[in-house]
Amino acid sequence: MSSFNFQKVRSDFPVLSQTVNGKPLRYMDNAASAQVPNLVIERGSEYLKKEHSNVHRGVHYLSQKATSAYEAAREKVRRFINAGEAKECIFVRGCTEGINLVASGYGRKFINEGDEIVISQMEHHSNIVPWQMIAEERGAKIRVIPMNQAGELILDEYENLLNEKTKMVAFSHISNALGTINPAKEMIETAHKFGIPVCIDGAQAVPHMRVDVRDLDADFYAFSGHKMFGPTGSGVIYGKKEWLEKMDPYQGGGSMIKTVTFEKTTYAGLPEKFEAGTPAIASQIGLGAAIDYLNSIDLDAAFEYEHELLAYATERLGAIEGVKLIGTAREKTSVVSFTVADIHPHDIGTILDQEGIAIRAGHHCAQPVMQFYDVPATARASLAFYNTKEEIDALADSVKKVIEVFS
């Protein structure tokens, strides 16, 4: 048993103390979006009350306050993922925008006709569609790393896909639909043997495991603030400056320029080059506060506790006749995807909601994963360090109730 004090942590998240449909809220949809602790709420409110102005523009007091808070958040991000320099951490709207930035900025420069982009079978649509769009634009081809029935990538086949035409490898650190932790470091090393850069979708990883972008040697690493207990509208694309400097901007506008005339514009340096227009200042400062929060709890114990929750949920749900777990990789985070006999996940979701239990039912923006397992959708409980075994008991009991209703 871990010594992690989940009760203490729970009390930091005001949303968790409400009732839904007359039952205590049991929030198990963290892979879609995690809840926000008081520290983040208060920091956002403080900023809006006392510090708000536009960043990198005014010489006045508030503009300097806002700029320094915004840049302090960037430094917090840098430290949290161990990037070499803060300017390698570009603020974006979320993981999706980060991947689009790379697909477009890198793709237009380095991907040409006949080239290949390697992605994996278990990707979220956000790590498929941007690559398809740039592949179509540049006349390149998408190739897919296959996976086995447990939901693990087949690494031998991965290496076989790589060749001199491969210009990018993109995969998720952790699958949002299956919970699989991919061996990112090893896979990056393999790609680098061929001189191929790697873009990692880290949306599910940053909130649930220690991520060190330099140890991984990732060329690009994208994640969202709202999945790591921060506000929506915040997010980061980390990129090695060697790449970012060579790439053209993703969007044009204010802030990202050095000089503008009607004949020619020269671009600002990093990170401004990739941050056109007024950014989501309050959200990114909130992301900084979310990092402060994560640093304030015993994070390693929290991750260990999440692992216990995963084992417990796997055991409780797996023991129910008719429940089939989808995604049984050896290395997993606290995501439990399942189907129940031939009951549609949306019916499961609605019945669980009546019990105050929030899970996701659907294709999890990963339709190729659903096609692989030949299911239209799954139900998914995704746990965070504020969840409890008692909540998992309630989940298991309610799943039994679902089976009763449909029997």
Binding site: H344, H346, T350
Partner: protein, 149 residues
């Protein structure tokens, strides 16, 4: 569970388990595909017309209990109706599940379809109940695809 039992009534559970007219119609006069990208519900509705009358109507596909039961009961109700009558039913059903018509207090042609009024309490499920109706409407209008997004 009171609202819930209202949604998952015996009738709906029965139609989910044993959907009526769950088959293809070979050489159907008309058909259309409906899909709900949010849930992954997909169905195809077939319609055979004799003059202006729906001689046969059926569906195939996959979906949740609500969408399947709704499609099943829809096929039962539409058989033998004229196109104009079908349009009135589509309109009334649509208004009922979106809260613009209360079948308890207003005169309608919905009959046993009134059971789907309960879906109003579950906003995320309204599209499940109305997918088959949008699809049959598209088939009757001569369109071959409809999405509830």
């Amino acid at each position: 569970m009171s609202e819930l039992s209202e949604l998952y009534q015996e009738v709906i559970l029965d139609h989910n388990k044993n959907p009526r007219n769950f088959r293809e119609i070979e050489n159907a006069d008309r058909w259309a595909d409906g899909n709900n990208p949010l849930c992954g519900d997909q169905l195809r509705v077939f319609v055979d017309l004799e003059g202006d009358v729906v001689k046969d109507v059926s569906f195939v596909g996959s979906g949740c209990a609500i969408s399947k039961a709704s499609a099943s009961m829809m096929t039962q109700v539409l058989k033998g109706k004229t196109r104009a009558e079908a349009e009135v039913l589509f309109d009334e059903f649509h208004k009922m599940v979106t809260g613009q018509l209360d079948p308890e207090s207003e005169e309608t042609h919905l009959g046993k379809l009134r059971i789907f009024a309960g879906v109003l309490e579950f906003p995320a499920r309204v599209k499940c109940a109305s997918l088959s109706w949008h699809t049959v409407n598209a088939a009757l209008q001569g369109e071959d695809e409809v999405s509830t997004e």
